[in-house]
Symmetry: C2
Subunit: 366 residues, 2 copies
């Protein structure tokens, strides 16, 4: 892939990319102070250019060439060391890949990126974001096993939830209980767990949990990205409290059927847009007013969300080994949303559910 892109090396700066190509796995990326660099030459093993605090950890990986500086050092936080490592590389194309495009950012000060550009004046910096998306997109069996494990464990926690959630509790209390339940079942941690609730439906799916107390007639959605060994699940479940109104039940059934259509459409050779269309037609027939999410599913794995996106225009062709979410959602009356989500693996014979399928009728917690 690097030869096709005609780059002599790639320079990677973010946690998922450095982990993917080095095996370096640490929570320390939460500290934004220090940059970390992995240089992947066209031939041979990657070279780590990292703060001294990470050398012992990097030595536990398959990386052999580890260069370090005592960071933080704001005047020159690894840049001169990095430049000399880049200049030592064999040169064939005179091009260095960095993630500059779709779904990417550089985890380093923009001024340091500008300095690289200036000092490497005889080398062109070109975008390798798409290369990395295409590389990480097809999951190995080992990666799928981790995602399946966390999907199953989280499915079980959702099934158990009516045992620890009830009318009168706040969203915050219920989600705290679910965090504990997930840990007790063997999850490593839950970086992402949000909720929303309201009579018959909810108005939002990315804020929360709030201190709102659940009332009879409410619908509660919980959406979680829970992690095992660095791999995410990402799906949600809906619950009615006390009773479910007919319109809430109808919306639930419509979105459930939309997921069914997505499951049938998801196979190698189909596109993300084919799935989007299959799911949206069910929602539209069911009276959907719109969808502010901007897509109805996406890749996942080492990150909560990964490329591609299930939209009307994405048109990415599915391949065996991709792991994606199906996430149909709709506004079914003003300010009332219903959203479902499942995680699937694309196999030669179609979609394989990684999450355990949601109940086909809206669960009611009484």
């Amino acid at each position: 892939m690097m030869r096709d892109l005609q780059v002599d090396a790639m320079l990677l700066t973010t946690e998922p990319h450095v982990r993917y190509l080095s095996g370096f796995f640490t929570q320390f990326w939460h500290s934004p102070t220090r940059p970390w660099f992995l240089l992947v030459p066209l031939d041979g093993k990657p070279i780590a250019v990292i703060p001294t605090i990470g050398v012992t950890g990097m030595q536990q990986t398959w990386i052999e060439d580890i260069r370090s500086w005592s960071s933080p050092q704001p005047q020159d936080d690894g840049i001169s060391l990095l430049l000399s490592a880049i200049r030592e590389l064999p040169r064939q194309f005179g091009r260095l890949g960095m993630t500059l495009g779709i779904e990417s950012h550089l985890r380093m000060p923009a001024n340091d990126y500008r300095q690289l550009e200036t000092e490497l004046s005889n080398m062109e910096l070109v975008d390798c974001a798409e290369l990395m998306l295409n590389l990480c997109n097809i999951k190995s069996a080992a990666e799928v096993d981790k995602i399946r494990y966390i999907c199953e464990l989280t499915s079980d926690s959702f099934v158990a939830l009516p045992g620890f959630a009830q009318t009168g509790q706040s969203e915050r209390e219920i989600l705290r209980s679910m965090r504990i339940d997930l840990l007790q079942r063997g999850a490593d941690h839950t970086p992402y767990i949000v909720s929303a609730s309201g009579q018959d439906g909810y108005g939002d799916i990315i804020m929360g949990p709030s201190d709102r107390l659940l009332e009879d007639g409410d619908i509660l959605i919980i959406d979680t990205g829970t992690v095992y060994d660095g791999y995410f699940c990402d799906f949600d479940r809906n619950y009615a409290f006390g009773y479910a109104s007919d319109k809430a039940k109808r919306a639930y059934t419509c979105v459930f059927q939309s997921t069914e259509a997505g499951l049938l459409a998801a196979r190698p050779g189909a596109t993300t847009t084919d799935i989007w269309r299959a799911m949206w037609s069910v929602l539209e027939a069911g009276g959907a007013l719109g969808n502010d999410v901007g897509r109805m599913g996406h890749g996942l794995g080492a990150q909560l969300t990964e490329w591609p996106s299930l939209t009307a225009t994405d048109n990415t062709t599915l391949e065996t080994g991709m792991v994606i979410t199906l996430e149909p959602g709709m506004e079914f009356e003003a300010g009332k949303l219903m959203v479902h989500e499942e995680n699937i693996l694309i196999t030669d014979s179609g979609a394989e559910l990684l999450s355990k399928r949601a109940a086909d009728e809206l669960p009611v917690i009484t």
Copy 2:
């Protein structure tokens, strides 16, 4: 501060900065797909330029001018909308601030940043990273209350740890129990909890937890960044298992005394380097071979680590209202580290502990 920097507006892209200036608080930043922009004009309220999925959430903040587009849309993910918002702003200096320098990154594709630069050809993009560091660095009473709450709660969990940790357990098991204990005490979540262990000391402080089983004679360090309402604590504790060797006890006492020296040195008007020197002189007298961490403390708050750094050259003057960690550490024999950490508030009269002071003798879990 913006007038001093001569900028007509600042454009912010990261979670802590957008949250600080808008009140927009969501876990959704875990999804790297969509960019989020907050434009802060010299006069008037900030303008949010955000994906439609976040509009309902942003409406709950004090932001009134919310402009949105349906994201993901890789060809133009908010850039044309952002450009038109920037062009509408009153112009006095012809300069737009973005975080380009120290401890910063841009959470948007570098190609989109380049496009902004090209299309805003009559506007200079200048660094406002230092402005944001200086702004966020002095904590309000409300911010201090949140940090104090999470520090106290986490201190209590560390004190309780001997009740749920014992020889024969793995680091991973112990940290899982501590995660649960922290949630039960009222923490929101624990984005960061790492550990290391070994006979008499440990070799690293940013990896882990590992599956290593604790043995008698081991020292275990646990370092955690646990969060309440968006604010972090960041400190560690050490435990001996079974018994503590004399050299481990000596190292512990030395690092404890180093922290005492830091507590005395930390007051308004002193510099980060004064504290570093006070702490390092104790470690050096105690036989320290070195320190690969690169610093002995740092700011904290809305992020696990914030500017400034306690180093030999940082020289930042402390002011009332800063919250920092004191984190002396040393290699006391080849491959054996001992590191301590406390969180403090700088007050008019000196350092106020936010974490409850570690035991003055190495705790032994028997």
